[in-house]
C-alpha cells in the first residue's frame, strides 16, 4: 500500500498521466485541470491525502468536480478559486462545515479538481474516488450504488451563478445537472453526493489517487514501446485493487466512427494487427472504451478497464483523439471488486450500455 500522505506539485504530472490510463478513453483531457491545480498548490500549498479508513465516522465528506463537456473547458477556462467557492456555497446552503473532499472519478480531469478545491480551502482530500476509472453517468458512481443520496447538490458556473438541486434519484439529478451545465456555457463545478465518513468507507473505491500517481510515474519512467510496459504494469496492477492486467492487442486503427447521441460520443473503432493476420479488434465506444471483441470473442468489457495507448510512447489516448492510422496497443485491466457486486452490475454491466452480452470478469475470459 502507498504511504503517500500529501500531494505536491511533483505529483501532478504523474496523477494526470495515470488518470488518463484509468479513464479508458473518456474523462476529458486533464491538462487544464492539472494547470489550475498546479496554480492552487503554488498559491496555497500542498494538500494532505487522507486514507478512507482514517476518516472519522461522523466526518462530513463532499465529492466535487466538473460536470459538462470537457471540450468546452478548452476555451472556457476554470478560475483558481472556482472549486473552493463551490464548496463555500455548499457549506452555506447545508449549514455544515466540510471535513474533507473526494473525487467523482479518478479517470481524467476530475481526479484533479478536488485537489484544487482542497488546496484553496485548506482541506484534506480522500485517497479514493467514486469509480476507480471513468464512466459516463452519475448513477454509475459507487457513491449512489452504495446508497448515498445525490442531493442536495450545488452547481457553480464560471461567473459565480449557482443552482441548487434536490431530486428524487441520481438519474433525474444527472438529467438536470446536464441541462444546467449546457445553459451555463457547457461546464460547471458541482458539490454533490455528500456523505458521512461511515458512508464513505462503504461507498468509496479506495486508494485510487495514490495509485494513479504510481501508475503515472510508471508510464513516465517506462516511456517507450508498449509491449515493454506489460510486465511493470502487471506488477503494479497485480498488487492493487485492480488485479489482472493484459495486453490484448497491438495494431493500427483502420476505422473509427463516432457520433453524438444524447450528449454521448458513441461509436466504434477497428484495429488491425501490425502483421495483418488474425481477426481485427473491435472496440465499442460510449465516451469510454467499453467493449473489445475479436470476431465473436469478447476480450474485455465494462466494468473492466480497456485502455488504448500509443504504441511508440505508451501514452494513453482518449477516444476523442483516437484516429485512423494511429499505431496502438490495447490493455485490459480488471475492475475493483466493488463493481463485481450485483448492485453495481445492475448499472454498469455491458447490457446497461446496450451490448447483448453478460459480464464475464477479465480473469475468466
Amino acid at each position: 500500500m502507498s504511504t503517500l500522505t500529501s500531494i505536491g506539485l511533483e505529483h501532478l504530472d504523474d496523477l494526470a498521466l495515470g488518470s488518463v490510463f484509468l479513464a479508458t478513453g473518456g474523462g476529458g483531457d486533464p491538462h487544464v485541470p492539472k494547470l489550475i491545480t498546479r496554480e492552487a498548490i503554488k498559491t496555497y500549498g500542498n494538500v494532505s491525502l487522507l486514507s478512507p479508513q482514517d476518516v472519522a465516522d461522523d466526518a462530513f465528506i463532499v465529492p466535487i468536480g466538473s460536470v459538462g463537456a470537457p471540450t468546452v473547458s478548452l476555451e472556457l477556462l476554470p478560475s483558481l478559486n472556482e472549486a473552493a467557492k463551490t464548496l463555500e456555497a455548499f457549506e452555506a446552503y447545508v449549514g455544515k462545515k466540510i471535513d474533507a473532499v473526494a473525487s467523482f472519478e479518478i479517470g481524467g480531469g476530475n481526479s484533479l479538481i478536488p485537489i484544487c478545491a482542497a488546496a484553496a480551502k485548506g482541506l484534506p482530500v480522500i485517497d479514493g474516488d467514486g469509480m476507480g476509472r471513468a464512466l459516463p453517468e452519475a448513477q454509475m458512481m459507487s457513491y449512489p450504488i452504495a446508497g448515498v443520496r445525490p442531493t442536495p447538490a450545488l452547481a457553480f458556473d464560471y461567473a459565480g451563478n449557482q443552482a441548487i438541486f434536490k431530486t428524487a434519484s441520481t438519474e433525474v439529478y444527472e438529467r438536470h445537472i446536464r441541462a444546467f451545465s449546457m445553459a451555463a456555457g457547457g461546464i460547471v463545478t458541482t458539490a454533490e453526493h455528500a456523505m458521512t465518513g461511515k458512508q464513505l468507507k462503504e461507498a468509496v473505491i479506495p486508494g485510487t489517487v495514490s495509485f494513479s500517481i504510481a501508475l503515472g510515474r510508471l508510464l513516465r519512467e517506462q516511456r517507450g514501446q508498449a509491449d515493454m510496459l506489460l510486465a511493470p504494469l502487471q506488477q503494479l496492477f497485480g498488487a492493487s485493487i485492480y488485479g489482472e492486467c493484459r495486453l490484448i492487442y497491438t495494431g493500427k486503427v483502420i476505422d473509427k466512427t463516432t457520433r453524438i447521441i444524447g450528449g454521448y460520443d458513441i461509436g466504434e473503432a477497428t484495429i488491425e494487427a501490425f502483421s495483418g493476420e488474425g481477426n481485427n479488434l473491435h472496440i465499442n465506444i460510449k465516451n469510454e472504451y467499453l467493449l473489445a471483441r475479436q470476431g465473436e470473442r469478447v476480450r474485455a468489457s465494462v466494468p473492466d478497464l480497456i485502455t488504448i495507448v500509443d504504441y511508440e510512447s505508451g501514452e494513453p489516448i482518449n477516444a476523442e483523439r483516437l484516429r485512423y492510422g494511429h499505431r496502438v496497443a490495447v490493455f485490459a485491466t480488471g475492475c475493483p471488486a466493488f463493481y463485481h457486486t450485483a448492485a453495481a452490475l445492475k448499472v454498469v454491466a455491458p447490457r446497461c450500455f446496450g451490448f447483448d452480452i453478460n459480464y464475464v470478469p477479465l480473469e475468466d475470459l
Binding site: 487544464v32 496554480e39 471540450t71 472556457l76 461567473a159 493500427k252 460520443d265
Partner: protein, 512 residues
C-alpha cells in the same frame, strides 16, 4: 521556371525547376548568418542552370529559422499578451504552463480583460472600456508595440479581439498585433501560445524577409517570393512578416511533398534517411498524413498540425554492434567523415557495412576487409528488419504501398524492402525538401463549433469553407483554383446532439 530553397539547421539546399524538371540543384552547409549560405546556393544553381534571371517566375523558401529562434530562445522581442475571457480563467494567465526560461526570454507583460463568448454565442462578459484604457496606458508607459490578443471562442466570434486591437491601433498606430483567431483552431491556451510566439518573432520576421528579398534582388531576381508553412502550403513573403509562426515544422512537410513531386505517387510511404535517423512519413492524396498528438515547440504546447512522422535511429552514421545484430540509435552524425572506419576512424557504422558488402564505393574499402562476412550479413538484415517493421506500422490499412527513399542515407537500402510493394529511388532525392518548397500551393483553413440543430450541415460547410477560402486568397491563392482538400467533423461529447467541431482546409494555385 522557379527556384526552391530549403534552409535547414545543417544544410541549405536549392533547386531550379523548369516545369516538373530539376535543371539545377545544390546542397551546402547552412552558414552562421544564414543569408550568405542562401546567396551562394542561389549563385550556384543560377550558374549551373545557365538561365537568365528573368526566366525565374517565383522563388519559394522553406526555413527553420523561426522554429530555431523559439527553441534556442533568441531573436525574441518584448511584447504584451492580452487575454479576453474574464471572469473565466482567473488565476490561469497566459503562459502559465510555459518553461520559465522562455517566459524570461520574451519578458512579456500579461493582461487579462473581461469579455469573450460561450460556445453558443452568449457573451462570457462585456468588454470594459476602463480595462482597455488601462491596457493602452500600460503599453504606452512600457513602450510596447508588439501585442498578442486571444479571446474565448474567438474562432467562432472574433469581435472582442478585433475591437481591442482597433482601440490599441488608434492609440499606438505602429503597434504590431497578432489576433489568435487567425491561428484557427479551438483550444484557447494553444491558440494563444501560437499568437504569443508569433508576436515575439515579428521584428525578427521583418529582418529575415527583408534579407531574403535583398538577396533575391541582388541576384537580379525580381519575381515574387513565397515561404512555406507547416501544412505544405505557401504564404507570400509579405504575409510572413505578420505570421512567422506559421513556418514551424515546414521541413518534414516539404520533404514529403518533394518525394511526391519526384515520383508522382499520391499514396506512398516516404523514408527520409539522414545521418542519424530515418524519418518515415505517409503521403495520402499527395499530402502528408497529419499527426494527431499535441505538438510542443520549444516546450510550448500548440495545436499546429504536423505531419505524422516516425523517426527511428537508423542513418548513415548509425553505430553498428560488433556482431551486426544491433544498430543505433547512437550515431557519429556529421563526424562520419572522420570517425567512420572507411574514412580512417575506429567506429563501425552502417556506411562501413555497405562498403564492406561491396554495395557502395565510399572511402577506403581496404579498411573494412577485417569486418567478418557474418557481421555484414547480420547488419544488413538488421537494417532491413528495422525499416520493414516500422514501415509496416506506418502503412495505412494493410494495403500494399510503394516506398519512396529520399535523403543522403538512402544508399543503405540495397536489397529492397519486404514492406514495399515497389521501391522508388528518385533522382535528386537529396534535395527533396527544396523541391517540396518549390511546388507548394496556397492554402487556407477555418474551424467553427456549430450545432446542426440551428444550421444545416450544407450551410455550415459553405460558411466554414468560405472563411477558409478568404484566408487562402489573402495568402496569395488564385480564387478560381481553390478546392477543399480536407473536411473534419468532430462530434462533441456531453453537448447537444449535432454539436460539432467543423474544420475545412482549402488549397489553390498561386495567383498570377
Amino acid at each position: 521556371m522557379r527556384i526552391g530553397i530549403d534552409v535547414g539547421g545543417t544544410h541549405t539546399d536549392a533547386v531550379i525547376l523548369d516545369g516538373d524538371t530539376v535543371i539545377a540543384s545544390t546542397k551546402s552547409l547552412t552558414s552562421a548568418d544564414v543569408i550568405s549560405g542562401v546567396e551562394s546556393a542561389l549563385d550556384t544553381v543560377i550558374k549551373e542552370a545557365a538561365v537568365s534571371q528573368d526566366k525565374i517566375k517565383t522563388v519559394m523558401i522553406g526555413t527553420t529559422q523561426f522554429t530555431n529562434a523559439i527553441v534556442e530562445r533568441r531573436e525574441l522581442s518584448p511584447m504584451a499578451a492580452v487575454r479576453i475571457g474574464l471572469p473565466s480563467g482567473k488565476g490561469m494567465p497566459p503562459m502559465v504552463d510555459w518553461p520559465q526560461d522562455m517566459v524570461e526570454a520574451i519578458g512579456a507583460q500579461v493582461h487579462m480583460l473581461h469579455g469573450g463568448y460561450l460556445y453558443d454565442g452568449f457573451p462570457v462578459a462585456d468588454l470594459r472600456d476602463d480595462e482597455i484604457d488601462a491596457l493602452i496606458k500600460n503599453l504606452l508607459t512600457h513602450k510596447i508595440k508588439n501585442v498578442a490578443i486571444a479571446s474565448a471562442f474567438s474562432p467562432m466570434n472574433a469581435q472582442p479581439e478585433i475591437i481591442v486591437s482597433e482601440r490599441i491601433k488608434k492609440a499606438i498606430p505602429d503597434a504590431r498585433i497578432t489576433l489568435s483567431h487567425n491561428f484557427g483552431r479551438l483550444g484557447l491556451m494553444e491558440r494563444e501560445n501560437a499568437a504569443i510566439m508569433n508576436t515575439t518573432l515579428l521584428p525578427f520576421a521583418d529582418r529575415v524577409v527583408t534579407s531574403f528579398l535583398g538577396a533575391l534582388k541582388s541576384r537580379g531576381l525580381n519575381c515574387p517570393a513565397y515561404i512555406s508553412q507547416n501544412d505544405g502550403t505557401l504564404m507570400s513573403s509579405e504575409f510572413v512578416r505578420d505570421y512567422p509562426a506559421l513556418t514551424f515544422a515546414s521541413g518534414p512537410t516539404n520533404s514529403l511533398r518533394g518525394a511526391f513531386k519526384l515520383t508522382g505517387l499520391e499514396d506512398a510511404i516516404v523514408v527520409d534517411i539522414g545521418g542519424t535517423t530515418s524519418d518515415i512519413g505517409v503521403l495520402q492524396g499527395g499530402f502528408p498524413r497529419e499527426s494527431n498528438v499535441v505538438v510542443n515547440i520549444g516546450g510550448i504546447r500548440t495545436n499546429f498540425r504536423m505531419p505524422d512522422i516516425m523517426a527511428i535511429g537508423l542513418g548513415g552514421g548509425s553505430i553498428v554492434s560488433e556482431d551486426g545484430m544491433s544498430i543505433g540509435p547512437q550515431s557519429v552524425g556529421h563526424r562520419l567523415v572522420t570517425e567512420g572506419v572507411v574514412f580512417g576512424g575506429q567506429t563501425l557504422t552502417t556506411t562501413d557495412i555497405i562498403v564492406a558488402a561491396g554495395d557502395e564505393t565510399i572511402g577506403n574499402k581496404s579498411r573494412v576487409s577485417s569486418v567478418s562476412k557474418q557481421t555484414v550479413a547480420n547488419a544488413k538484415a538488421t537494417m532491413r528488419r528495422m525499416l520493414d517493421q516500422n514501415i509496416e506500422m506506418m502503412k495505412p490499412g494493410g494495403k500494399d504501398i510503394p516506398v519512396i527513399l529520399v535523403g543522403g542515407g538512402a544508399v543503405l537500402v540495397t536489397d529492397g524492402l519486404a514492406a514495399a510493394s515497389k521501391l522508388y529511388r528518385p533522382e535528386n532525392a537529396g534535395v527533396a525538401n527544396a523541391i517540396g518548397a518549390a511546388i507548394a500551393q496556397v492554402g487556407g483553413e477555418a474551424e467553427r463549433m456549430i450545432s446542426y440543430r440551428s444550421i444545416s450541415r450544407e450551410d455550415a460547410l459553405k460558411k466554414v469553407t468560405q472563411a477558409a477560402t478568404d484566408k487562402a486568397v489573402s495568402a496569395g491563392a488564385d480564387i478560381s483554383t481553390i478546392r477543399a482538400v480536407d473536411i473534419e467533423e468532430t462530434a462533441i461529447p456531453y453537448m447537444d446532439e449535432g454539436a460539432t467541431r467543423l474544420r475545412v482546409k482549402v488549397i489553390g494555385e498561386l495567383a498570377g
